[in-house]
Amino acid sequence: MTLLAAEKVAFRYGGHNVLDRVTLALVPGEIVTIVGPNGSGKSTLLRVLIGALKPSSGAVTRAKGLKIGYVPQKLHIDQSMPLTVRRFLDLPRRVSDHDACQALETAGLTDLGLRQMAGLSGGQFQRVLLARAIIGRPDVLMLDEATQGLDQPGSASFYRQIEAVRTELDCAVLMVSHELHVVMSASDRVICLNGHVCCEGTPEVVSAAPAYRELFGTGTGGALALYRHDHDHHHHDHSHEAAE
């Protein structure tokens, strides 16, 4: 069963192709990570998937009644708005104290309810965003660079939390990140994006793929990599067809 799919999605902005025929599909329970350099369209792709942007061509399909939990890249709360953590969890719909408490716990927090959002540390703030996103038991959890502003141990523990959330809610997770090493180890599947899908597969396959190495400059391509390149691109085309 496909929860959420993009088919040949293109997005043009200012005469420039930000996304070029991107095709992907998400099935229940898997953790998929989109990696790519700055300006590769990662955030744009997520925003197309949540419906904030209309694709210039191609289509996004969602399973009927699909619930999306979205953790944005950053959330600026204007200091003119008073907002406690508990009240924030009630957006967009009121939730019971029990559910709120449980979501905070799942996100690795306790007892923050009465604190003001503006007074939280970076790590706490991200976890509250995560708690809010998982509160309605979403089918898909989407995270856009959710560990920005966290230090290495902080983001490592955040990603461990994501895995725990996936296990508990059995939801699909789609995340965007530039922290390759941390993210790769936590993913079932990695999609390397640079406007178009350069390569995709298990973390092992992608990290060995030349297209990936070219983008991120890790390692040098050898004979084996060249072979894999062809193989990978064949695989990549094939998976396109399979997804259509």
Binding site: G51, A52, S80, L91, L114
Partner: protein, 262 residues
Amino acid sequence: MLDDFVVRGVLAALGAVLATGVLGCFVVWRRMAYFGDAMAHAAVLGVALSLAFSLSIYVGVIITALCIALIFIQLTDAGQTADAALGVLAHTALALGLVIVSLLSGAKLSLSAYLFGSVLSVGITDLAVIWGGALVVLGVLWWQWSDLLTATLSPDLAYAAGIDPRRKELLLTVLLALVVAVAIKVVGALLITALLIIPASAARQFARTPEGMAVAAMIAGALAALLGTQGSLMFDTPTGPSIVVAAAGIFTVSIIAGRLRS
């Protein structure tokens, strides 16, 4: 009771500040103060056109305010900065309104009532329009509260939850036009923004949640309306500006109280 012009005036002021207090919170959260100002200035043009075509003032004000909002969207889409576009529109509308009125004979006197308000001269019909409009604004805000709040906090969070934030923005614009019409006879076009911004800002000092801020803004607004009307009768000062001065006093006290508490 409604025969007494003071009672009518106080009731009109109360109706207006209840609506401006709550809607003002959104204006403050979304930093739309200048946008509100442009719509209020547009009301002067609306009044002038209403006088010229013998329309109901309220209808003319709402339509003109909405037109200005529409033109604003067009201008910013065409690449003007919001700041410049609002500056151009607000003052053009105000100036155009004054020019049109000067061309109409005998209308000059009545315009000053709409510039600075004349709450002590409202009739029963005005009172009905003001309270009707205020209740519609409060009702819609109540009904749409959670969606509006989500869209205000983050358009992307709204999209992910299936809420279209652009529609919510449009809704707020319509409510703002309605509030301008509701408040124009109370404080006048030039001071409407004050009733949006000042009670909400005073309320911010004491609130821990958005709802708390909205309620506190209504209380601050009501207090300003009562004190301002009272003061204007005691000192024989214009009522609209007196209400705004009272609101400013409440704001000052709230700032000092906030400082003392922390």
